[in-house]
């Protein structure tokens, strides 16, 4: 297996890194402080082709591969997790079902402008009583003539307040647990869909998480994405990608934390020398860097396998588990190096620390992932 990325991939990484250093990093703190969605950067990301990186050129995308998507996510996350998470939602979960299962008319009307950054699409799965246990969701989709009627309440929906269209998970077979779930396109403005309260959170403040309420929301049968009864399977299909994506976001945050730690350790002088000269600090940085490298290899291997047509759920889950935990360890490590300044809002480290928690959630908590890995290994009951 080749451990090097291609020239094309390196070029992309370099250009994203440039964009991040010049335009994202200077705004990241403000995005967080003001808790505002970085609309201007989102549009710029669209112009640079980031939102359509996974989609073919016929829809305005750039036809990039999984490794490229991971590189994009990593670099963006190094600058701002809020921006990175928003871009990756748009590039993947928020639009993928329309791309794969939507009708051409839907793709033209929604996917194409989404890739241009003119419309926002988000996925709505989680509910107040169904997070890790998605099969416990209570949102239903009842067939009614040529339509479906959706009823339920979704929670923690990223950027719901800004979304133009939702990919909603709802049960067409309520007794069937997770297997009864199907995916539906619901556009904003459809009677019966409304965005509810926003959940105040500790991190990733540049994106919002809100409730989405469906009350006898009527959508045409053509809004069912994929054949009835296949939703759960299709969702599984995209989960490996989501996990790799979360792994890549984790790499970016880890790198940011490490870079900040190195910089500070070189500058901060105590006891007559830069603190980097103390083994406690330099060894900590060495451990951090080592774990980051290990995580990076896992994430890119999983992405690379996908590019070769091999969807390895076990590896994708391991990559997400390892990288997200790594990001949290590195944010913690950096904050220790910064000591009190790791606490001060004028430094980014406290933001890395808060944002890192998000990485432990989306795509499966570490506990759920361990169960999945054990299952994939054939050792779980």
């Amino acid at each position: 297996m080749g451990f090097l990325i291609s020239e094309e991939q390196e070029l992309l990484r370099g250009s994203v890194a440039d964009f991040v250093d010049k335009e994202v990093v200077p705004s990241a703190a403000l995005i967080d402080e003001e808790a505002r969605f970085p609309a201007d950067l989102f549009v710029k990301a669209a112009e640079l082709g980031y939102l359509g990186i996974r989609y073919p050129q016929e829809y305005g995308g750039s036809g990039g591969d999984h490794v490229m998507f991971a590189l994009l996510c990593e670099e963006l996350a190094r600058g701002s997790m809020s921006l990175a998470a928003s871009v990756s939602m748009q590039a993947l979960m928020g639009t993928d079902f329309i791309y794969r299962f939507g009708m051409e008319e839907q793709r033209q009307r929604l996917l194409v402008p989404a890739i241009r950054g003119e419309k926002m699409g988000v996925i709505a799965m989680t509910e107040p009583d169904a997070g890790s246990d998605l099969g416990a969701m209570r949102t239903t989709a009842r067939r009614d003539g040529d339509d479906y009627l959706l009823n339920g309440r979704k929670s923690w929906i990223t950027n719901a307040a800004l979304a133009d269209f939702f990919t909603v998970a709802a049960k067409t077979a309520p007794e069937a647990g997770f297997k009864g779930v199907d995916m539906f396109l619901v556009e904003r403005g459809t009677p019966g869909v409304s965005v509810g309260r926003e959940i105040a959170k500790m991190g990733v403040l540049g994106l919002s998480a809100s409730e989405v309420i469906l009350e006898e929301c009527r959508v045409p049968a053509g809004n069912l994405l994929g054949e009835e009864g296949t939703g759960a399977r299709n969702l599984q299909g995209v989960l490996a990608e989501i996990r790799i994506m979360m792994g890549a976001l984790s790499l970016g945050l880890g790198q940011a934390a490490l870079d900040a730690g190195i910089r500070y350790a070189r500058e901060r002088v105590q006891f007559g020398r830069p603190i980097a000269r103390f083994q406690a600090v330099s060894h900590r940085l060495a451990d951090m860097a080592t774990r980051l490298e290990a995580a990076r290899l896992m994430v890119y291997r999983a992405a690379s396998l996908l590019d070769h047509g091999e969807r390895d759920m076990r590896l994708a889950s391991m990559a997400k588990l390892f990288a997200s935990e790594m990001a949290n360890e590195l944010a913690d490590g950096a904050s220790r190096i910064f000591a009190s300044y790791g606490f001060a809002t004028e430094y980014p480290v406290q933001r890395y620390f808060r944002d890192a928690r998000f990485l432990l959630l989306g795509g499966g908590t570490s506990e759920i992932l361990r169960g999945i890995i054990a299952h994939e290994m054939g050792v779980a009951r």
Binding site: F278, Q279, A280, H283
Partner: protein, 381 residues
């Protein structure tokens, strides 16, 4: 709260240490090589009154409390785990059932000589079919007139070849899982008792563990502990806390041995022109060891003290055992790192601490089992 040991405790600790340094330490190498503890040493230990430390003066014991017994275990283990394990078996598991549940006659015939070192006893629970899952045991005890007939195979029995009597767990009700287990007092010289192969092991090498076979062994019915069938598990449970706390004390002894030798070594070993204790990386390892030892000591002696006060101790016994096990593994690992290649040398003690420490992983219960127990207590609080 008075966190100090009494002068009596300190004096006792001193006497155990002196005994160990004088009579045990010089023979460790030989005992490791021969994989045996000479009877002469076991006799000397008897002369010290250690076997009867916990038992009432009425039987020739010392009437010592749990704090004292923990001190004995800690100091012996600090010197040599194999001896400490054998002694603990004779002081506790091998004899306690007679002490708690035996008849007057049985106490006179077994406990009194055991305290004097004239007879040795051991506990027989584990089988190939079940270690953690004792309820899976297949050894049976069938009532036949005035006798019980015992059939089965035990495994990992400490000192099976060198004892005079066994406390054997066998099922009087094979269908009933752990509730069908009962405990019996069996003489070694009963027809049908056969000591099997010695199990070659890496850990506590001089404390031999053996397979033990019971082939239609007949014992008088009054050898059933508890007076009636079905009480075995309750009886066993009554000493589990003792076993946990005192096994933890063994672990503490090893931890301290590894730590103390590491400090000494770090002070005299030079690298790059200075004793390695001058390097922060080493200092911090020693500091972390110290933190964990201090914490473990408090937990263990607190649990022992609670037992002496007659206070409930299910949680504390389990948590202190869990804690020291995880801690001692870390401590001996770091100790081997401090010693470098000498950590692997058979001439040094560290390799033995590293091996013997691992006994904590299953002695008195595996870590996963202990966590289950703690969680069960939490649920019932």
């Amino acid at each position: 709260m008075d966190f100090n040991f009494t002068p009596e405790h300190d004096l006792f600790r001193q006497s155990v240490r002196e005994f160990a340094d004088r009579y045990v330490r010089p023979h460790i190498k030989e005992m490791e090589e021969k994989k045996d503890i000479p009877h002469q040493l076991l006799d000397r230990i008897a002369e010290q009154g250690f076997y009867g430390l916990r038992f009432a003066e009425e039987w020739g014991g010392q009437g010592g409390d749990n704090v004292m017994f923990a001190i004995l275990n800690e100091e012996l283990a600090r010197c040599y785990m194999s001896v400490a394990a054998r002694v603990m078996m004779q002081c506790l598991m091998g004899t306690e059932f007679i002490n708690l549940y035996g008849t007057e006659q049985q106490k006179r015939d077994y406990l009194v000589p055991a305290i004097k070192g004239e007879k040795y006893g051991t506990m027989c629970m584990t089988e190939p079919a079940g270690g953690t899952d004792l309820g899976a045991m297949q050894t049976t005890a069938v009532r036949d007139g005035d006798e019980y007939v015992i059939n089965g195979q035990k495994s990992w029995i400490t000192g099976a070849n060198a004892v005079d009597f066994y406390t054997v767990a066998a099922k009087t009700d094979p269908e009933a899982g752990f509730r069908g287990v009962d405990l019996f007092l069996v003489d070694r010289d009963r027809p049908g008792v056969k000591v099997g192969d010695r199990i070659e092991k890496l850990i506590a090498t001089a404390s031999g563990c053996y397979d033990l076979f019971f082939d239609n062994v007949r014992i008088p019915a009054d050898r059933l502990f508890g007076g009636e069938e079905g009480k075995g598990f309750a009886l066993l449970r009554s000493i589990l806390n003792d076993i946990r706390v005192h096994t933890a004390a063994l672990g503490l002894g090893i931890a301290r041995a590894a730590y103390e030798e590491s400090v000494e070594y770090a002070k005299q070993r030079e690298a790059y022109g200075r004793p390695i204790i001058k390097w922060q990386a080493i200092q911090h390892k020693l500091a972390k060891m110290r933190v964990e030892i201090d914490a473990a000591r408090l937990m263990i002696y607190y649990a022992a003290w609670r037992m002496d006060q007659g206070l409930p101790v299910n949680v504390d016994a389990a948590t202190c055992k869990y804690f020291i096990t995880e801690a001692v593994l870390r401590i001996v690992d770091d100790a081997t790192r401090i010693f470098g290649a000498y950590g692997a040398s058979m001439e040094m003690n560290i390799q033995r601490y590293m091996r013997d420490a691992r006994w904590l992983l299953y002695g008195a219960g595996t870590q996963t089992m202990i966590l289950n127990i703690i969680a069960a207590e939490i649920r019932n609080e």
